[in-house]
């Protein structure tokens, strides 16, 4: 295998790709209408996905979080898959049916307390032998606050200062036991937290569980550069990826960190076919399944902020946009609000079709649903296994990414084809591991163990 050098000649060795699998959760990416689609909550579904990811030698398995169901005028949004397990609990169970796979939970820093969450994460790290990761998210949604003691919500600035203090405090707790097992008291007084005492869990196998930051905003990038091990970002063009990658890695130096200490992993969807044409056809069919007539109407509403339910999804787009009503939809990430992305832990990949952003299609005479399908984001990688493997490799080699977080479209079989057909090709290219080298998630990611700061 020829080792191609980087254009800038920085890397003498072939850069390896990292892969993660995302549990297809609660949004319209999940193709529940497919006959192969099974339960979103049965343990067997989660077990199948995790075992498949481990069979494919993936770095980690990843779960999103949503603490308030999406609602529309006080009623539950019903066209998409809804209902999910509590992340940390299910990952502890998955630790029992896997041996190497990293286990990442999205957990909100707004509606949890540092002591308890640091303890739950350290416990997962112990029980899994060093495979725990935490995707730190924050919440700005007042409706989510209605489920918690705190109530209400924090404004944008406070959410990030709280999250930063939260992560720093969690690290302090993880460091509060000496490496040789002596518990030492801690005390912390800050803007958001004033706590003291002793941590109940000794230092865990990874020292600190891996920390993931989702979201692309300037605050998010800075937060990631300061404290995260992985950035979960949105996927775009190769050039956009390179620019984001360079920007985030550039920020590391001022925190005394090297570029290798932060991995950039966009969330992606993949559609495979025996030929390029077949793959495109499958991709189009999936988009049709994702955008039901009801979803097309809801998507229109999300963009308009007004009620379009009087319109026929198979009829044409109306000439005028109804008056916006900002109170109409809640518990939902709005497009364009890059901070709100952080709420579910998922950048809005192909989550919702941008109907209103596709006004020109009216001239094409397409009905609302068709417009939604056309306007909806495309899958990230569509093609033959060979073409997809080459493209993934290119993104990594050209520093647009360090790896990818794959979002399977069908529960639980949505990862099977990628693992069977693409992973071997990545391995042939020398772009992906052929066996696990270590036992901890940090070892899979090539991350150093955090220094103990007692």
């Amino acid at each position: 295998m020829t080792v191609r050098s980087e254009p800038r000649g920085r890397r003498p060795f072939k850069k390896h790709c990292h892969l993660a699998a995302y549990f297809p959760g609660v949004d319209n990416t999940t193709v529940w209408a497919d006959p192969r689609s099974k339960s979103q909550i049965d343990f067997s579904s989660l077990e199948h996905l995790a075992r498949t990811a481990e069979r494919g030698l993936f770095d980690f398995f990843f779960l999103a979080e949503g603490l308030r169901l999406r609602e529309h005028q006080g009623r539950i949004h019903d066209p998409d898959a809804v209902g999910r397990p509590e992340s940390l609990t299910v990952l502890n169970a998955l630790a029992g049916v896997t041996e190497h796979l990293g286990l990442a939970a999205t957990v909100n820093a707004t509606f949890n307390e540092p002591y308890e969450l640091a303890r739950r994460l350290a416990t997962l790290d112990h029980l899994s032998g060093g495979r725990a990761a935490w995707n730190v998210v924050t919440s700005c949604d007042a409706s989510t606050g209605e489920n918690f003691r705190r109530g209400n919500f924090l404004d944008r600035a406070d959410r990030y200062t709280r999250a930063a203090e939260f992560v720093g405090l969690a690290r302090k707790l993880w460091d509060s036991w000496t490496p040789d097992g002596v518990s030492r008291p801690f005390a912390h007084r800050g803007q958001h937290f004033d706590i003291a005492g002793e941590f109940t869990v000794p230092r865990s196998p990874q020292g600190h569980p891996v920390v993931i930051q989702a979201g692309d905003s300037d605050e998010g990038r800075e937060f990631a550069a300061a404290t995260a091990d992985i950035v979960f970002t949105r996927h775009g063009t190769l050039e956009a990826g390179r620019s984001f990658y360079a920007d985030v890695k550039r920020r590391l130096e001022k925190y005394g960190r090297t570029p290798d200490e932060l991995k950039i992993m966009p969330g992606v969807t993949v559609v495979l076919g025996d030929t390029a044409a077949e793959a495109q056809e499958k991709a189009a069919e999936i988009r049709r399944q994702q955008v039901s007539p009801q979803n097309a109407i809801r998507a229109l509403e999300q963009v308009w902020g007004a009620d379009p339910s009087a319109y026929d999804p198979d009829g044409p787009l109306p000439e005028t946009v109804p008056v916006a009503d900002s109170a109409i939809t809640q518990g939902r990430t709005r497009r364009g609000d890059t901070v709100a992305i952080a709420e579910t832990g998922v950048p809005p990949l192909e989550r919702s079709p941008r109907v209103g952003e596709a006004r020109p299609s009216k001239e094409k005479g397409l009905p609302i649903r068709q417009t939604a399908i056309e306007a909806g984001g495309r899958q990230s990688f569509v093609g033959t296994p060979e073409a997809v493997a080459a493209e993934l490799d290119e993104f990594v080699r050209k520093d647009a990414a360090d790896g990818f977080i794959l979002q399977p479209l069908i529960t639980p079989v949505g990862l099977d084809e990628f693992v069977d057909r693409v992973v071997p090709l990545l391995q042939e290219r020398g772009a992906f591991r052929t066996e696990y080298q270590g036992t901890t998630l940090r070892s899979h990611l090539g991350l150093p163990d955090p220094a103990w700061r007692g």
């Binding site: 529940w32 209408a33 909550i41 049965d42 343990f43 077990e47 949503g66 603490l67 308030r68 169901l69 009623r75 539950i76 019903d78 066209p79 998409d80 898959a81 809804v82 209902g83 999910r84 397990p85 509590e86 940390l88 609990t89 299910v90 502890n92 169970a93 630790a95 029992g96 049916v97 509606f111 949890n112 307390e113 002591y115 308890e116 303890r119 739950r120 416990t123 112990h126 029980l127 899994s128 032998g129 409706s143 209605e146 489920n147 918690f148 003691r149 109530g151 518990s183 937290f193 004033d194 706590i195 003291a196 005492g197 109940t200 869990v201 000794p202 039901s292 007539p293 009801q294 979803n295």
Partner: protein, 359 residues
């Protein structure tokens, strides 16, 4: 209809508590041992006040390594979020396919309060009142999505029947929860709620919300008195008292021989110690004690905490349980698959279902 005395089926449970053990292996091993003995459930205690792992996490890890035994972690209600607690317990029920329980506890010390910095320590009866509210809202949230809510209707494009999802709109003394839960209704409907009712301030919460009450007492008369009071209170709360299982909770030290009851132990009954009522003796005498208290209608069963987990649990399973099975007093296999089935408790109707009754 079960009679008001304890001569229904005998129920046995064991604690897996070990001093500061954090790896998965030894917990799995002990749970499997208990499962080999056909025990109804295992408990794992939890507190923010002493070193130890998150108990619900440990039993989630144990779930796929076991098949039948009930898994009952302690989850405290004082400094935790009711919404997260119910979601975690519901998820334990999903990953164990209907074997989850939840031992409800409170955090009474100022030391624990300082770990959170949100409130100061308050008196135990106030904490138990709040624990009752958490137990209440948890059950409402478990009901907030009806069993048949997921319709996956291809003709209408609807994944879910929105009329089968419910806001709980719960307003307690110190918190409120809107709902619905993010987790679908658990396999058991309501995972089994367990409360240690030994202390007076926990008793009303136990009588109102618990499926299983634990009573730490050294004499049958003491257990019987608490049991009578719990049943009385349960009736006053509008419950059928026969839906409440009362288990005597004992520390057991089976370090001696087969028949090694020391004076004041075993045949003479357990002795009150600082740690709680302690039985010290042989596994055969323990079987006699269990059979005797149960036959007298004092208890529905026992919750036993080994003083030396590996040794005592093995002697309990291979000695005490084997003998009870031999005498036909305890199950030799699990006829059911859920913890509720082991305990002889019905799957509760959903309070929000139009055709169902209130639970």
């Amino acid at each position: 209809m079960t009679s008001s005395n304890g001569r229904g089926r005998l129920h046995l449970a064991a604690a897996l508590d070990q001093a500061a053990v954090f790896d998965a292996g030894s917990h799995v091993e002990l749970a499997r041992l208990a499962e080999r003995g056909g025990l109804d459930f295992v408990t794992l205690d939890d507190t923010f006040a002493r070193p130890g792992p998150d108990a619900l996490a440990v039993l989630s890890r144990v779930a796929p390594a076991t098949a039948r035994i009930g898994l009952v972690p302690t989850v405290t209600t004082t400094h935790t979020e009711p919404f997260h607690v119910q979601a975690a317990v519901a998820t334990l029920d999903w990953v164990s396919r209907g074997r989850a329980g939840w031992r409800i506890e409170v955090s009474t010390t100022e030391g624990e309060a300082r770990l959170f910095g949100r409130r100061h320590a308050v008196p135990a009866d106030e904490l138990w009142r709040e624990a009752g509210e958490v137990a209440d809202v948890a059950a409402r949230l478990w009901d907030s999505r009806e069993d048949d809510a997921e319709t996956r209707d291809l003709t209408t494009g609807r994944f879910i029947g929105r009329d089968k999802l419910h806001h709980v709109d719960f307003a307690g003394g110190g918190f409120s929860v809107k709902g619905p839960s993010i987790v679908p209704r658990p396999p058991q409907g309501h995972p089994v709620r367990v409360v240690d009712a030994t202390e007076g301030h926990a008793r009303r919460t136990a009588a109102r919300y618990a499926d299983v009450a634990l009573v730490r007492a050294a004499s049958p008369a003491q257990v019987a008195a608490v049991r009578d009071q719990l049943r009385q209170l349960a009736s006053e709360f509008g419950r059928n008292p026969d839906t409440l299982r009362v288990l005597a909770s004992l520390l057991v030290d089976l370090g001696g021989g087969e028949h090694a009851a020391e004076p004041g132990h075993g045949g003479g009954g357990p002795r009150q110690t600082v740690q709680g009522p302690l039985y010290r003796g042989g596994p055969v005498d323990l079987a006699e004690l269990i059979a005797g208290w149960h036959a007298d209608g004092v208890v529905d069963g026992f919750h036993l905490t080994p003083t030396e987990p590996r040794r005592d649990l093995e002697r309990l399973v291979n000695g005490t349980v084997a003998l009870l099975q031999h005498r036909g007093l305890f199950r030799t296999f699990y006829p059911g698959s859920t913890l509720r089935e082991h305990l002889g408790l019905a799957r509760p109707a959903n309070r929000y279902a139009v055709t169902g009754g209130a639970s």
